[in-house]
């Protein structure tokens, strides 16, 4: 038995409200079997029968279809895609969604949840025709949380389905599982390898969202929550099972260096078995078992990156982030003013000219001296050098950009320190001698 919105009175009230909406629809529009047949999955369709068996197994109500049965059913629906659907690689996933949504709509119709029936059949229609949009393939169900995100982001243990049992944790988990699903279905290959599992995941997630809304209403009305959270549990089992078909959960890949699109760093990863994986090319990637036990290099292509909204989003974001910049300004012997014509000074000025007062700019200046002279003097002159760069170069540049005096006096954001001779850029060889590279101010602009 499933959760309902609050007894017969509420059901009738909602049914009455839905009737207005229904008036715009024909009588067969809410007939799940008729809609399913129109979309390509008629009565007795073998693939929908297989999906029903899989769903029952995921719910713990029957045995899991064996591999031979699964592959035979999958091959038949793939043949259908080739022969009748113009080779649409997504047809098996589309049909899986049609089966799942039609079955869900039929269940809801049996308890007069007409609004929900309409929603599920609309989703089936979209599944049949919509283009994958990169974020929520075929059916945009993942955005149903819009405006209803939980206030908190307190992390929940997503490995333990006990989160289903309490209203607070199931609401948090609903939000926190979403990223994982979008990641899993974001790779084109996942939906082709396991259209059956991912369709159950997607539709169970959709129904779980409705389940949470129902529980929220019941909690607000102080009505006992009653039945077990069926769809949360179904989602959890299906999502865990689907992971065998997804690109592995844990994936690492290299980006090009900022100053050279063809150059990547050098990365060595060692897995638990002691195997080493070396990554040293742009987009070179490795993936790992969920328990971290085994790692392997994996082919990873620009197409995979483009298909995954989360990965592409991370790359775009990091590429758009102005990198911290470091400038080293040199000083003549015993001088408190930068060397005339130091090429770093105009570069620093150009960097500051691009900064906006609205951004949380931070600048750290560390002044240095060479080893000639007493330590106390070197500390003092290094402080003076940092101050000279701040007062003579940075402050005027930022004031002209609209930064206020008060902002520039914020010592948390604009830090000056004199390190004397304690941190030389070049270690003196043998006897101490004047060293130009050590008479410097290092400016870090973040």
């Amino acid at each position: 038995m499933k959760l309902r919105w609050g007894g017969m009175a509420a059901t009738l009230l909602l049914a009455a409200c839905a009737t207005e909406e229904a008036a715009r629809l024909g009588p067969t529009d809410w007939d799940a079997a008729a809609v399913s047949a129109r979309l390509g999955a008629g009565p007795g369709d073998p693939w929908c029968g297989y999906m029903a068996d899989l769903r029952a197994a995921i719910d713990g109500a029957g045995p899991l279809p064996d591999e031979a049965t699964r592959m035979a059913a999958l091959e038949a629906v793939r043949a259908e895609a080739r022969d009748a659907k113009g080779g649409d690689p997504y047809w098996p996933f589309r049909k899986s969604l049609i089966c799942e949504y039609a079955a869900s709509a039929a269940e809801e119709a049996a308890v007069f949840e007409w609004v929900t029936v309409d929603q599920f059949l609309s989703a089936a229609e979209k599944a049949a025709t919509a283009e994958p949009d990169g974020l929520s393939p075929l059916v945009p169900v993942f955005d149903h949380l819009s405006g209803g995100e939980p206030e908190s982001l307190a992390p929940v243990d997503l490995s333990n389905p006990a989160y289903c049992d309490e209203y607070e944790t199931t609401e948090l988990a609903l939000s926190q599982q979403r990223g994982g699903i979008v990641q899993a279905v974001g790779f084109p290959g996942s939906l082709q390898r396991a259209p059956d599992w991912f369709a159950v995941v997607q539709v169970a997630y959709h129904r779980w969202g409705r389940e949470v809304q129902e529980r929220k209403r019941l909690a607000q009305q102080r009505v006992a929550l009653g039945d077990a959270p069926l769809y949360c549990r179904r989602f959890h089992s299906a999502f865990e099972g689907s992971k065998q078909f997804a690109i592995k959960d844990n994936l690492i890949f290299l980006l090009p260096e900022l100053d050279d699109p063809d150059k990547a760093g050098h990365l060595v990863i060692r897995d638990a078995e002691g195997r080493e994986i070396v990554l040293d090319k742009v987009l070179a990637a490795a993936q790992f078992e969920p328990d971290g036990s085994e790692g392997e290099p994996v082919d990873f292509f620009p197409e995979d990156l483009a298909a995954s909204a989360a990965l592409k989003g991370a790359v775009d974001r990091t590429n758009a982030l102005p990198p911290p910049r470091v400038f080293t300004i040199l000083f003549d012997y015993n001088s408190r003013q930068p060397e005339a014509g130091d090429p770093q000074v105009p570069l620093l000025q150009a960097e500051l000219a691009s900064r906006d007062p609205a951004e949380p700019l931070r600048i750290a200046l560390s002044g240095h001296a060479d080893c000639v002279g007493p330590r106390w003097y070197n500390t003092m002159i290094s402080e003076d050098r940092a101050r000279a760069v701040f007062d003579g170069i940075i402050k005027p540049a930022l004031l002209s950009r609209g930064f206020s005096e008060a902002t520039l006096a914020d010592k948390k954001r604009f830090k000056l320190v004199g390190l004397g001779e304690s941190a030389p850029a070049v270690e003196p060889e043998g006897r101490c001698a004047p060293t130009e590279e050590n008479r410097r101010v290092v400016v870090v602009v973040q």
């Binding site: 982001l153 490995s159 990223g179 900022l258 050098h266 897995d271 638990a272 989360a310 990965l311 911290p324």
Partner: protein, 173 residues
């Protein structure tokens, strides 16, 4: 332009398994740990700040008495060693660390700063973060340049996914 040059990097070795099976400990982002982490020596020190924040982003800060405070992240907000950052479905953030490392997180992500020590004068330190779920991009700064193995991003606590990197994207679930 900063050029990040990272030589051969080492992963952390597998930690020796402890004797009796203890009750699993969960980190802030709900990663299973073998044992409770030690409190960072300089917990209150600022280690990074939020350069950009969009949508729903929360900073989780452990309390000395146990549990954690959950704060709305804002641009310019300072982060401390042992903080975690969690994002919702429309959330994203960029943080810059004192060693010039950058950390970018996208939607539905939870990442913890597990260790951060940086000696700016010596340009050495130790930086370990743990990704609970989601996707982050990490650009290594001075700590990673100081020596192999000084910076790592862990997904599991047994550290076999620990890496030292340059500009990398990591996803975990």
């Amino acid at each position: 332009m900063i050029t990040i040059r990272i030589g051969a990097a080492l992963a952390l070795g597998l930690l020796a398994a402890s004797g009796a099976a203890a009750e699993p400990v969960k980190s802030l982002c709900q990663v299973e740990l073998k044992e409770a982490p030690e409190a960072p020596a300089r917990r209150a020190e600022t280690v990074a700040f939020m350069k950009r924040v969009e949508g729903q982003v929360r900073v989780l800060r452990p309390k000395a008495s146990g549990g954690f405070d959950e704060m709305k992240a804002e641009i310019g907000m300072e982060l401390r060693a042992s903080d975690a950052v969690a994002t919702g479905g429309n959330g994203a953030f960029d943080a810059i660390f004192t060693d010039n490392s950058t950390l970018t997180g996208v939607a539905d992500t939870c990442v913890e700063i597990s260790t951060y020590l940086y000696d700016a004068a010596a340009k050495t330190g130790e930086f370990r973060m743990r990704l609970g779920r989601g996707v982050v991009s990490v650009a290594a700064g001075e700590v990673a340049k100081s020596a192999p193995g000084r910076m790592s991003v862990m997904i599991r606590d047994d550290a076999n996914l620990a890496v030292t990197g340059t500009r990398i994207v990591i996803r975990a679930n």
